[in-house]
């Protein structure tokens, strides 16, 4: 993974001191609350319902075991012994003290971490594919490009006060695990005649107005990546709406101009920037790529009888391997996913002890590195297949072996009304009620892949628009209700979910999910996935099943 040089370190260290000064001035009363709000947000600090919340950046989800141990230490000393993995591959703390945040940041800086631009109307942490570098369907490793974008966007003086927040995702695989079609900018790394090229999408997004982003540039040469992004950002910064925060995202501008006209405007701006100083040099591309080379793999047999023979049966180990372990490009290695979705624990939550155990397991089994996924899970990307059973045994002990990756109970869920001051409704108890309704593992495995996404409000941090089943908390005259939608996907077959009908009380949600699942089981053909059955049938049978017996 990327390792800081003196320049990277200097910037993070100087930011800690700058932020400390801003905090001191706020506490001394010489910096207004309004101004400090904008400044602290640009360093990831929200003031929430119960306490401040600090969002720590994990660039494209990569963490070392050293960083995990530091996070464990920080949750213990500055918080209440747990942290939360977010839907944007970041880590959040729920209980830091405002006056201690500068010290906390100084500790993070010692392990090359920070909270820069994890909130506010600026370019946010860049996200990517959690299987980058190891996936069998990979075209090219997306991480060097994500890192180059991270550096370009960090403290960019021109784009720190955009009309609204701005999120960039990069993928370099056939399958899209980075949701590039629902980002402000999505970058697809492709190969054309053996050369690296980019396809650039702009104006996708979720929130109040979900839109699948259109492609605005094809066959972009690598050296032009930053100048082209600069052109998009400048057009957006100049012409994006600032009169209404709900219409301020780039997707509204692209839609209003039409993607064709927007692309034309970007081209006109790009003419001035193309081949200018921000044009990437081969030396820089090579320098960054060197940080993402393959680890020192052993020569191993791909067939491991001790593992392969267990897959047929429904043992705990067999189920876990079938669901949570994915194919690796290196013979004899596998990708292991820890589903952070134990029933009764908020999706994505992790304790300080678990963080340390994950760090130890990463050292023992996966070259000391892990990745955080946008499904709020953790990936050990380079595990020898022969060590799987050993690893699984240790995961079971640590309660990190939930065999439900990608299944109905692997729910993506925002912190919701329990923590977040923006939320209309709670989301964590809804997730838990659904998990309790579907506790039978054999049933879940039989049901197959099914994404449920829950957001506590229109801001859509739980990405409910792209859930196979999406659940949105709404406020009806002061009471919490839940609108259910169906048919979304955040992957390469991206689609936006359609609203089923009138919303439901919290207690009714698990029953509604059950009815939707029943329709699927009744109509599915063979091993058909939930989303595919829905696409074949359309929304009506689901609607009927849910509302026929429902008194609205």
């Amino acid at each position: 993974m990327y390792v800081y040089d003196e320049y990277d370190q200097k910037m993070v260290d100087e930011r800690v001191e700058q932020y400390r000064d801003q905090t001191d001035r706020f506490l001394a009363g010489t910096l207004s609350a309004e101004e400090f709000q904008h400044l602290r947000l640009r360093n990831g600090l929200y003031i929430q319902r119960l306490a401040p919340m600090l969002r720590i950046a994990v660039p494209y989800g990569m963490l070392s075991s050293t960083q995990l141990r530091k996070l464990a230490h920080i949750t213990r000393h500055y918080d209440r012994g747990y942290a939360h993995f977010t839907t944007r591959q970041n880590v959040q703390l729920n209980w830091p003290k405002l006056e201690e945040v500068p010290d906390l940041l100084a500790e993070l800086a010692t392990v090359e971490m920070h909270a820069i631009q994890t909130s506010g109307n600026c370019i946010r942490n860049v996200t990517s594919d959690q299987y980058a570098g190891v996936a069998r369907d990979e075209i090219e490793d997306s991480r060097p490009w994500a890192e180059l974008i991270r550096q370009w966007s960090t403290f960019h003086p021109e784009y720190n006060w955009l009309p609204r927040k701005f999120k960039i995702a990069v993928t370099g695989a056939e399958g899209d695990r980075a949701a590039v079609q629902v980002h402000d900018i999505g970058v697809r790394v492709l190969r054309e005649n053996g050369e690296t090229r980019f396809e650039v999408l702009a104006g996708g997004g979720l929130g109040r107005t979900p839109i699948i982003g259109p492609v605005i540039k094809q066959s972009l040469e690598p050296k032009h990546l930053l100048t082209y992004l600069e052109a998009i950002l400048r057009v957006y910064n100049r012409y994006g709406r600032r009169d209404n925060k709900y219409k301020a995202r780039i997707k509204i501008l692209v839609k209003a101009m039409t993607p064709e006209v927007f692309a034309q405007k970007v081209e006109e701006e790009w003419v001035h920037l193309k081949d200018g100083p921000e044009t990437l040099t081969q030396a820089e591309i090579d320098r960054v790529r060197k940080h993402f080379t393959a680890p020192a793999y052993e020569k191993l047999e791909d067939h491991v009888p001790a593992v392969d023979d267990l897959l047929a049966d429904n043992s705990g180990f067999g189920n876990w391997v079938k669901q949570n372990v994915k194919a690796h490009r290196q013979p004899g290695y596998v990708i292991v996913n820890l589903a952070m979705k134990q029933t009764g624990i908020a999706p994505g939550d992790v304790t300080d002890e678990q963080l340390e155990i994950i760090a130890d397991l990463a050292d023992e089994f996966s070259f000391g590195e892990v990745r955080v996924t946008h499904e709020q899970n953790v990936t050990l990307a380079d595990v020898p297949k022969k060590s799987l059973h050993d690893l699984w045994t240790k995961l079971v002990e640590a309660e990190l072996a939930s065999p439900n990756l990608g299944l109905l109970t692997d729910i993506i869920c925002c912190p919701g009304g329990d923590y977040c001051s923006l939320a209309n409704a709670k989301s964590i108890p809804v997730a838990e009620a659904i998990q309790r309704q579907f506790e039978d593992l054999d049933y879940l495995h039989d049901l197959g892949e099914l994404d449920i996404n829950i957001s506590g409000c229109m801001n859509a941090c739980g990405h409910h628009h792209v859930g196979n089943i999406g659940i949105l908390g709404v406020d009806k005259k002061g009471e919490e209700f839940y609108q259910v939608s169906i048919g979304g996907s955040g992957y390469e077959d991206a689609s936006l979910a359609k609203i089923l009908g009138p919303s439901f009380a919290q207690d009714d949600v698990p029953g509604v999910v059950q009815k939707l699942v029943d329709v699927h089981l009744e109509h599915r053909q063979g091993e058909e996935r939930f989303i595919d059955t829905y696409r074949r049938l359309g929304i009506d049978p689901y609607k009927e099943a849910v509302y026929a017996t429902w008194e609205v």
């Binding site: 320049y7 910037m11 904008h38 370009w152 960019h156 003086p157 021109e158 006060w161 100049r238 001035h272």
Partner: protein, 142 residues
């Protein structure tokens, strides 16, 4: 109004009179100073830049970032070398970003402490991007 920072010096004010964009476009002679609000396009005066010595760009609120791009376009696309003055809601914590985009004069908002301004303009010792006075970091990185 707060102090004026110009040429790295704190002044109370100076003698420059800035016309609005409309006044400028309506005038028969060629005035030397004009101010633009956020959202007014610099392209409107692009043909006259050789004769303009000072352009003020307004920040209607410190959170409105349009003027950063206007300054960058003036310096980079039009090679404008005269004064670019930040006016309006100009606060200490944004001076560095303004300087790096090409501003070189700052009319501070009320209550902003001029003593701290020069230090703020300087800001971080390194930056990844191309700025007004330096190439991107990667061009001189080992």
């Amino acid at each position: 109004m707060g102090s004026l920072i110009k040429n790295n010096t704190v002044l109370e004010s100076d003698e420059v009179t800035f016309l609005t964009l409309q006044e400028y476009l309506d005038s028969d002679n060629r005035p030397q100073a004009v101010w633009l609000d956020a959202g007014e396009e610099i392209e409107a005066i692009a043909d006259f830049l050789d004769d303009i010595t000072a352009i003020a760009l307004n920040f209607p609120a410190f959170s409105d970032g349009r003027a950063y791009s206007t300054a960058a376009v003036l310096r980079r696309h039009h090679n404008y070398t005269g004064e670019i003055r930040a006016i309006g809601d100009v606060r200490l914590d944004q001076l560095e970003q303004m300087a790096r985009c090409g501003f070189n004069a700052y009319q501070l908002a009320d209550g902003q402490n001029a003593d701290q301004a020069l230090k703020r303009i300087e800001g971080f010792s390194v930056s990844y991007q191309q700025t007004i006075d330096r190439d991107p970091l990667f061009r001189h990185r080992a």
